[in-house]
């Protein structure tokens, strides 16, 4: 996937599409309102013109064979009620103008069968709307066709239409703005479940492969299902490989124990110092291998259990004392003195006992391993907003290498090539700390040579 593709945004695309739709609707609305309103205004003018022409036609009469007209006051005054437009009229019988403006053109009534004909034309340089109406007036024994034309300029109409246009424009613009704002909100809310899902997935720890249970809209269910099924397969595969490692470690450790016992028996029977030395090397190598296998086992267990902690109340002072007791034989071999500095009160947290034991054991084991003979290790539990489980040795320290790198799997310090080790000890402790929402801190000892490794655990 290229970088350009990553910028593609559902929200933006949705927002733009909805805005375009809103713009089209606004334009359609504007045009519709304008057309309808202008048509209505034009119809109003037409009907008033028709009413005017009708009232003039009704006022036609004949007198001694001549057609006369008593122009009704209302015929023209009604045209002045809606606007201040100019008004023209003409009454024609047989091409002779009886009265009115004799240069006013007559809309062609012959084409149209209806008795009323409307026409928009130019009169005296101004656009006018004209209506023509024919009426037969009886003059003695014969009827004569009389045409009445009434015309009115369209300034009032233009004013109405511009007023309507500006109102329609204002409403359309307002509509567009409101709909666009709502569209953006809708786009925002449409992608919200996606964001929630993203957050719920990214918030997880690297080991958290539990199925996603966030409430998702129907459209995202296939994605979530696919994700869950993928994570299921991944977890299964991870579990299987961890199990494989545990199984392998276990299977190696058991025969190694046998080898060690046999080698020790052999050592005791040996007299030759050279041979004795060789066997002793064998025993040491077997010890290291056994220890590494133990750590692999621990690590596999930590990986497995970290996701599903079996928490219960644990007293950290007991935990520290227990670890000290268990590793006392190992430290005695190197004449390393383990000093305990524990608070008198109980320090209890909720945690997974097996994991914490494993973490503490590995840290202490590590400290013993890298401590010189005839030195001491201070095991201290500090209660300072959090619990600090500190193991301070008088070893060689970490020199220049970044202590935090040491928690990475199979990473060892730069100055320990002479000591056999797997590099898993601190990794295990770090993973346990994380599983308990804590952290592992590795610093130089403030009061002398050596290192301080702290397992920091928050209060439960």
């Amino acid at each position: 996937m290229s970088r350009k593709d990553q910028k593609w945004s559902i929200r933006r695309r949705l927002g733009i599409q909805l805005s375009v739709i809103a713009a089209l609707l606004s334009i359609a609305f504007y045009l519709t309102v304008r057309t309808v309103a202008e048509q209505a205004a034009a119809d109003t003018q037409d009907s008033i013109l028709a009413a005017s022409a009708t009232s003039i036609a009704d006022a036609l009469y004949s007198e001694r064979g001549a057609i006369r007209l008593e122009l009704p006051y209302s015929a023209l005054s009604m045209l002045g009620t809606i606007s201040e437009d100019q008004v023209f009229y003409r009454v024609v019988a047989k091409d002779i103008t009886l009265t009115g403006y004799d240069d006013l053109s007559i809309p062609d009534t012959s084409q149209n069968q209806r008795d009323v004909v409307f026409e928009t034309t130019i009169y005296r340089g101004v656009q006018v709307r004209a209506v023509a109406m024919s009426r037969a007036v009886s003059t003695g024994n014969q009827a004569q066709e009389v045409t009445v034309v009434v015309a009115q300029t369209r300034l009032g109409l233009a004013a109405t239409s511009s007023r309507i246009s500006s109102t329609a424009t204002a409403v359309a613009v307002g509509f567009f703005l409101v709909v666009t704002a709502l569209s953006l909100l809708a786009a925002q809310s449409a992608v919200a479940p996606l964001n929630r899902l993203t957050q719920s997935v990214t918030r997880r720890g690297p080991k958290d492969l539990r199925p996603v249970v966030t409430e998702t809209p129907r459209e995202l269910v296939p994605l979530v299902d696919a994700l869950n099924s993928f994570m299921g397969r991944l977890r299964f595969s991870l579990t299987r490989s961890e199990e494989f490692i545990a199984e392998a470690a276990h299977r190696i450790r058991t025969p190694l124990a046998t080898v060690r016992t046999q080698a020790e028996v052999l050592y005791r029977q040996m007299k030759q110092p050279d041979n004795k030395k060789s066997v002793r090397e064998i025993i040491r190598a077997v010890d290291e291998s056994s220890r590494s296998a133990g750590q692999l086992l621990d690590h596999a267990m930590v990986s497995l259990r970290a996701d599903q902690l079996e928490t219960r109340e644990i007293d950290l002072t007991y935990l520290m004392r227990d670890a000290s007791d268990r590793l006392a034989p190992t430290s005695d071999l190197k004449d390393i003195h383990l000093k305990l500095d524990l608070p008198s009160h109980g320090c209890k947290i909720m945690g997974d006992l097996i994991l914490l034991q494993s973490a503490v054991r590995n840290i202490l084991d590590n400290s013993i391993k890298y401590s010189p003979e005839d030195s001491s290790i201070l095991i201290r539990l500090a209660d300072d907003e959090e619990y600090h489980l500190m193991f301070i040795d008088e070893g060689r320290g970490f020199e220049s290498s970044n202590p935090q790198n040491l928690v990475k799997r199979f990473t060892r310090g730069s100055n320990v090539s002479d000591v056999i080790g797997s590099g898993l000890g601190l990794t295990i402790a770090d993973e346990v700390a994380r599983a308990h929402n804590g952290r592992l801190e590795i610093t130089a000892n403030k009061d002398g040579p050596g290192t301080c490794v702290s397992l920091v655990l928050p209060y439960s």
Binding site: S74, L76, S77, Q86, T99
Partner: protein, 345 residues
């Protein structure tokens, strides 16, 4: 006026003296401004005596405008603008119908300013016709003739009075000759629209050998001299301006309704100085604020409150309705009916 030297031309042009068919003016006078840069040519139906104070006041505000003032009857004014397209800058007339025709038929320029925008809607039309006075048509009676007789307050009472005292009023009633007077025709046609009593009144006046006049001034003079006892549809503003120097006349505003004529100004489309004309329109429209001036001219300015105070006042409505009685046939019919009623021969 110290600064406004004016030359006076009191000239009566006869059609035989000027070009054939040319309009006839009654009076012309040029008011030269102190530092004249432009000339405003006004054609008006208002007498020079009436309008002169306005011209002086206008020139005080606009000292660089010469004013050429021509007096003509409303029909001659119409001819000058409508038929001869003479380049007058402003046409001022009391004949609202003819002025409306000018505007309707495209002989008027559109003008608007701050002053015209504040005018009430009924006092202007199309931004081409600007009314600046409101002058009612009233009944003027001779005080001497009504010492014992009750003064009529409505047209019905007037008809009643004339019917019951035909000997007393025979030959002693006056009104406009609507055939010659544009204003008289306007008042009469509005009367015919407003009340059924108009034709009865005309009939009654016809039986009394009513005298017909061209102008309000003459009617007022004859009432004052006792030649006639009452004059109907006299221009109230003229009568009011004569009250202080004319004894024995009483102005009777009838209660049923009073037709109110708005004197209007129009800028003809052929105007050479429409800007100057606009200044004059602004000045005329603002007449209400200038009480001294309206008092000295006797022209009551447009005043909504005054109209509301006198509920009988009915300003004649602008609009195409005013064109109806200018229709050739309608005019013929109306005049025939009127002549038949008023002459009774």
């Amino acid at each position: 006026m110290r600064f406004a030297r004016f030359t006076l031309f009191l000239s009566v042009f006869l059609s035989s003296l000027s070009m054939a068919n040319a309009f006839e003016s009654e009076q012309q006078r040029t008011y030269s401004a102190q530092n004249a840069q432009e000339t405003l040519r006004i054609i008006s139906t208002a007498d020079i005596d009436v309008f002169e104070p306005i011209i002086y006041a206008f020139q005080r505000q606009n000292p660089n405008v010469n004013i050429d003032y021509v007096v003509a009857s409303s029909t001659e004014l119409m001819r000058a603008i409508y038929e001869e397209n003479l380049p007058f800058d402003l046409a001022i007339s009391s004949a609202m119908d003819l002025q409306t025709k000018l505007a309707n038929d495209g002989f008027a320029r559109t003008y608007s300013s701050e002053a015209t925008d504040t005018m009430p809607g009924w006092a202007k039309w199309r931004n081409q016709l600007f009314g600046f006075t409101q002058e009612p048509a009233v009944l003027v009676i001779s005080e001497a003739d009504f010492l014992q007789t009750p003064i009529p307050t409505t047209r019905d009472e007037l008809i009643e009075l004339l019917r019951n005292n035909s000997e007393k009023f025979d030959g002693r009633v006056g009104t406009y000759d609507v055939r010659t007077s544009g204003l008289g025709y306007l008042f009469a046609t509005q009367d015919s629209r407003n009340t059924e009593a108009f034709w009865r009144l005309t009939e009654v006046m016809g039986r009394l050998n009513t005298r017909l006049y061209c102008c309000s001034g003459e009617m007022i003079t004859d009432v004052a001299s006792g030649k006639i006892a009452l004059a109907y549809n006299v221009l109230g503003s003229y009568a009011a301006s004569r009250l202080h120097n004319t004894a024995g006349i009483v102005i009777v505003p009838l209660d049923d309704y009073l037709s109110v004529m708005l004197r209007t100004a129009v800028i003809p489309s052929e105007a050479n100085n429409p800007e100057g004309a606009g200044l004059m329109i602004d000045f005329l429209v603002g007449l209400k604020a200038n009480t001294d001036l309206s008092a000295s001219t006797g022209l009551p300015p447009i005043d909504k409150e005054a109209l509301q105070a006198e509920s009988a006042m009915r300003p004649i409505q602008f609009g195409p309705g005013l064109l109806v009685f200018l229709d050739k046939m309608r005019r013929e019919t109306f005049l025939r009916s009127w002549v038949n009623s008023i002459t009774q021969d």
